[in-house]
């Protein structure tokens, strides 16, 4: 159930390297052209970037719990950390901080702010 995107190199991001490999760059151009959304995993980690949650897509239990925790459609949040080796994502919105696993993050369809 968990998808590990091998192009994400969370550790390197803290030294401000861009993730290598063509895929993210292509996605970026694709997004600005057609405004499609990607999952958080597909986007890859960028420190302190602001994102908008467009849609939640996944198992109903997961989607419901994400909403109950405050990740509702339309909310703006910031990506703060990604722990190494495919570890949890840390996000912030308003005065709330959440930690999400990979498979939980894959339910978030986001676009850059």
């Amino acid at each position: 159930m968990s998808r590990e995107n091998w192009t994400e190199v969370g550790v390197f991001n803290s030294f401000s390297f861009r993730p290598t490999g063509p895929a993210p760059f292509h996605k970026e151009t694709a997004m600005s052209e057609t405004e499609t959304t990607v999952t958080l995993n597909e986007l890859g980690f960028r420190k302190d970037v602001s994102l908008v949650l467009e849609r939640l897509q996944g198992e109903s239990v997961l989607v419901e719990r994400l909403q109950e925790m405050g990740l509702i459609e339309g909310i703006e949040f910031t990506l703060l950390h990604r722990l190494p080796m495919g570890g949890p994502w840390i996000v912030q919105f308003h005065s709330t901080f959440l930690a999400l696993r990979n498979d939980e993050a894959s339910a978030l369809q986001v676009r850059m702010k």
Partner: protein, 627 residues
Amino acid sequence: MSAACVALVGSPNSGKTTLYNWLTGSKFKTVNYPGATVEYSLGRLAAHLRGETDGDLGVMDTPGVYSLFPKSADEEVTLQVLREHQEVTAVLVVVDGTQLERHLQIAMQVRDLGLPFAVVVTMADLLRNQGIELDLKALETELGVPVRAFDGLLGGGLLELVEPLKKMPAVRAKVRELEPTRLKKQIADAHALANKALAKTDHPQVRLARLALRTRQWDRWLLHPWLGLVIFVLVMGALFSSIYWVAAPFMDWIDGGFSWAADFVHGHGPEGLMTDFVADGLIASFGAILVFVPQIFILFLGIGFLEASGYLARAATLIDKPFSKVGLTGRSYVPILSGFSCAVPALMAARNISSKRDRLITQFVIPLMSCSARLPVYAILLAFVFPGENALKVGLALTGLYFGALVIGAIAAAILNRLIPKDQASLLLMELPLYRRPRWGVVARQAFTKTGSYVTRAGPIIFVIAVAMWFGAQFPHREGATKNGQLEQSYVGQLGHLIEPVVSPMGVDWRVGVGLISAFAAREVFVSTMAVTFNITDEDDEARDQSLLQQMQEATRDDGKKVFTVASVAGLLVFFMIALQCMSTFAMAQRESGKWSFAWAQLIVFNVVAYVLAVGIYQGLALAGFG
């Protein structure tokens, strides 16, 4: 008299438990919901909050929930308590003022349930620091129920919040079913309501972001990809070692106290079995329970402090990926860590794990974590292997034993992970609370309550087994026999002889067998029993250990081979590392898992594996020339 009862409902980090302590004056009992292993607390409104004309008011604390549409065992219990507990006549929804938009939805759900309720907003002091003034009147108007603020630090607002509770109807209203389709509207309404409450303040979101700034700054380091882990290891190491260093003098003090009491009884009581029973049976058994209390208390204190500060959630997040790889979860690490002190409170700590599957796997491997009762056994066995005060080698070997326990635990968890099918996705999806300065008073009081819980849970079992051991070693009673002679022909001694064929493949004889049997009461009893079977009469513990070491070097089996060799001691070390010999752990495992089959499986699997490995290690090393 109709006993009205208010149930506190709210999120895990909302300050609900602190409020509960204030309301009940910290006097409450924890109960199990029938059929579940989750607990909740029942108490009464503290006397000084009750007026003279008021009747009794029960106050109940429920497990923290994020919504009344349950997604974990904890949340199911809360919903069931509200729906089925006939005593509950009103609800107090506890809402964290810094998390209004997320927590108010619980108030919406309680409203849908049909029970009369009030709302209390906590963390108001944090908000005031940022110049945020909540419009509680607007909330009251919109919700149609009393809304009060409460300051958990100083208890401000307590009387104002108790007033509306006393006016709640004392008769239970009809509870309605919650409809899942309403959730979206409840969340939307909660958001709108939160915005209304913040409307009185200018730039509320900017102020809230500033509130979160300090947390964000701390997390730059504490959740740093590798520095975060380093800090985590340091913090856990500090906690772990402080449990031993700080507790040690208290444990010695308690041990000494009970020894003194036993001597006193021996000195002043009439010669005979009754005196022996009181001194060596009763008093010694009480001592066996209470000697661990300092360690347990400090463990709960340390963990309570880390939890109240907000760091515990970060630690669970840091360790989540490595732990998930072996079938555990980030939340498992507090129970696992606690297991290094004692498995009994560790099993209690596993309650926080919401996924049933994750919880069972964690509970299963907890007894493998080398608890502190194993230390005296490790100490004497390692002293044999490395004679002559070789502290460095002993230290390294000890570290090796502890790591070995971790590795075996990881293997066991990984195996279980493969065997047990994943039926329900386990969610981490964890809230990282804002960092706050913990209040030592509250932390200490909670640690005290939990320690008391440990004593009342594990106490009776340890006591019964210890007394049973005493009887087994004293009967059949031979007048005037030496300690050694008495033990040999007693029931325990006879049992030792009986199992000799089982222990001899491990390279030892019936005398060690007797020690292994008595270790079932408490592992550290192994050393004192061995002293008796090897006829050590020294009174002083250190002198006794020295004499025991000497005896161990010389003791021979019936066939002339030495009992204690590097090979056999290595086998014993491995046996103690893995075997589940603690009856309190067995009883607690049944209680926490809710299944006898679980506890029995744990007991049998660990002891069989320990035996097989011990025999294997002995035979292997003996062949290699260490026998």
